[in-house]
Symmetry: C2
């Protein structure tokens, strides 16, 4: 397009020289300049926001997220802007995880990858055919900055398994310029979304050295299962505590392929794993729900195994052994903190119990069991806001109708059989 | 940009009239036309493919999908190009489901929505800020056709709950022009990705009338749970067989909001639900794994309940009762087919068992239990391809090492406690 603009301006110059009145040419040149400017910028890109608003208007990109507070799920959603998350590997899982965090309004994202976008990646979400040939980090920054200009994006186009790459990786994790008051490292969480053992071991090494909490993710070669795992150095098993049974030795594992066969992949499995990974990250960062230590996904049977892994006292990773020692030594401190917390909670409970010392109006709690039968239907409807009705008849009323008909015991047996089948399926899985 | 091109062409027309020689103006007009064409098309858009190739090259968008065949997961992946899927509701779940199916190379997608893209939708995947103001169907077609030009996209910008909308909806589902030889309707599966009761009941009505298998999906108002469900008219419960307990009556349910609060939503929950929905669809269409009748997702506890629901003989939906009757009447036919299939399988098993009648080379199967101890280490290494080594020592070797040390019973107790905790967590969920 730029070539075309240039040629057009040259032709306009020629035409201007041959004319007595240059005014129409000036006008045309303004058009060309306007068009050139339009072709470069995205006219509808949204502007940055200063504060997250919970106002319920169509133009607020954060209304549905701030609603998490009013729904009682998250205590303070706005804290998300203070967090930095590093994503290692911007492939089928990492790119989707980055997009989810970007749309959630994360403060800062650090992206690491050395690969380029190929047409063969188009069976996963995120990258577009027009980005083929770009590095994955550049393409990701392009897309993510358009989606949410509020997120600070830092990209590192490099291999973290090389000596120099590993150094850049660890120093970027410790850089605290985004939030100097932060305790610990410069990032709150590292997400490993890589597809090979060597890179996982590099992330593991860096996080063990830096006492950095991280989450690991993976998708099977046959594309139909995956997992996520939380790793807290010293407290949980590290990646080297229970390594895979079989690893490449002496040759580049990426060259290890069954003859003419690449690994299969599906946008569904990778999307689910990215979703579970970022959901676990949000729970960890924003302190809601239960953070899963390990969650598997077997898509053929829709089975989701969970487990917990303690560190291996014979772990081959020296930094892991150091962290394990530190964790043991800090036990009295943790116990004291837990005790203090329990006592504080007990105290609050006592504070709350005598809500009113006096009972000026003689209000008392009365057992309404006896009144239930007559008032139930009316009171249960009363609890619904205006505009809502119960879709099904009241259970008591329904039972009366049923009682008139003859008993149908067959249905009950079917339900029992269903339950049995489910139990067997669970045991078989 | 189009306005600018138009103004420029008008100015060129004016200039042409004032000039004696029109040649330079013609030249300029060609430039403008080239630029207008360039601004509309995507220069790197990939061309359509005739057949899905399994060749392992970076330029093949289907290599990772065709690998599912070689991995033994799917028998014939290429069949995906024959399937038509209708997606009702192109919001947080429907848009992602459409993108996943598009990237999987589905034959044809029918999209239904009447809503427009807003900035308030940016906390879910798929839509971009530059699409704000476009209808969701137009924006989806724009993005999806860029991602995969092989997919036939048909969009319906309308509300299926109106009388006219419902008619258009049912007639589009029965249109068989894409694959005239197909049995049944023109679509293989309907995915309901709507956010309200009225629209779900409309999909339910249409599918019951048309004997159309469909899948329902939903995400809770507090954004932290969701579900998918398979509905086969007559065979499983329909949506009216077990309706929600509370529904809107007499007023538009979309106006039903707690004061100043919109429903919360998260890209993670919606991405996971879309992934589970499309995974179940792929299993259903391509005949692999186990299709889940119902799968819930509780993200706070990472709990995934499953269940099966039989049709309700007192269902309020007349078409459902008709389908139930048909299903009962076809029971002998189903039983006969199941019996024939079992017998055919038994016959194949018999055919296979006597693989060789004679034993020309006197080959016999020998119990190698006694030789095991001496050869095990060598043989287990031998089974690994070149370049792979066992990361952990052989279990027998490791036991010998451990036996030297004193027994560590503490670890065993910890594991038991872990298991207990997991059991309690499962019971509590």
């Amino acid at each position: 397009m730029e070539v075309e603009f240039k040629a057009m301006l040259d032709d306009l110059d020629l035409l201007e020289k041959s004319l007595s009145d240059p005014a129409p040419i000036h006008k045309l040149r303004v058009h060309v300049e306007n068009l050139a400017a339009l072709s470069k910028c995205n006219p509808q890109r949204r502007s940055k926001v200063k504060e997250l608003s919970s106002e319920v208007v169509d133009s607020n990109p954060y209304s549905r997220l701030m609603a998490l507070q009013r729904m009682g799920i998250v205590e303070n959603y706005e804290r998300i802007r203070e967090f930095s998350v590093a994503i290692v590997g911007v492939g089928g899982v990492g790119s989707v995880a980055a997009e989810m965090l970007t749309r959630c309004g994360i403060g800062r994202l650090l992206l690491y990858d050395y690969d380029s976008v190929e047409l063969a990646n188009m069976n996963r979400l995120f990258f577009r055919p027009d980005q083929v040939g770009m590095t994955k980090t550049d393409a990701a920054v392009q897309t993510l900055s358009e989606i949410n200009p509020d997120v600070v994006l830092e990209s590192f186009t490099m291999n973290i398994t090389t000596v120099q790459g590993f150094e850049t990786f660890t120093s970027s994790l410790t850089n605290k310029s985004f939030c100097p008051s932060k305790e610990g490292n410069g990032v709150d969480l590292v997400l490993s979304c890589v597809d090979n053992y060597e890179a996982r071991m590099a992330v593991n090494q860096a996080c063990n050295e830096l006492r950095q909490t991280w989450m690991e993710s993976g998708v099977s070669e046959d594309a139909v299962s995956g997992h996520i795992q939380l790793l807290v150095p010293g407290e949980t098993a590290c990646f080297a505590c229970a390594p895979p049974l079989v690893v490449a030795s002496g040759i580049d594992e990426r060259t290890l392929k069954r003859e003419g066969v690449c690994a299969a992949s599906l946008p569904t499995t990778m999307g689910v794993v990215a979703g579970l990974l970022v959901q676990n990250s949000l729970k960890f960062l924003l302190n809601f729900g239960e953070v899963s230590p390990y969650l598997g996904y077997n898509s053929l049977k829709d089975f989701f195994p969970t487990m917990q892994m303690r560190p291996n006292p014979q772990c081959s990773n020296a930094a892991c052994l150091e962290r394990q020692k530190e964790y043991m030594l800090a036990k009295p401190e943790r116990d004291a903190a837990a005790k203090a917390k329990m006592e504080a909670e007990a105290l609050t409970a006592i504070d709350e119990s005598p809500l009113h010392d006096d009972n000026e109006w003689n209000i008392s709690v009365v057992n309404d069991e006896n009144e239930k039968d007559t008032t139930k239907a009316a009171s249960s409807s009363d609890t619904l806001p205006e505009g809502l009705t119960w879709e099904l008849p009241d259970a008591d009323e329904y039972e009366k109708t049923i009682a008139i008909k003859s008993g149908e015991t067959e249905d009950e047996e079917d339900d029992l059989e269903d339950l049995k089948e489910q139990l067997e399926a669970l045991n078989a899985a």
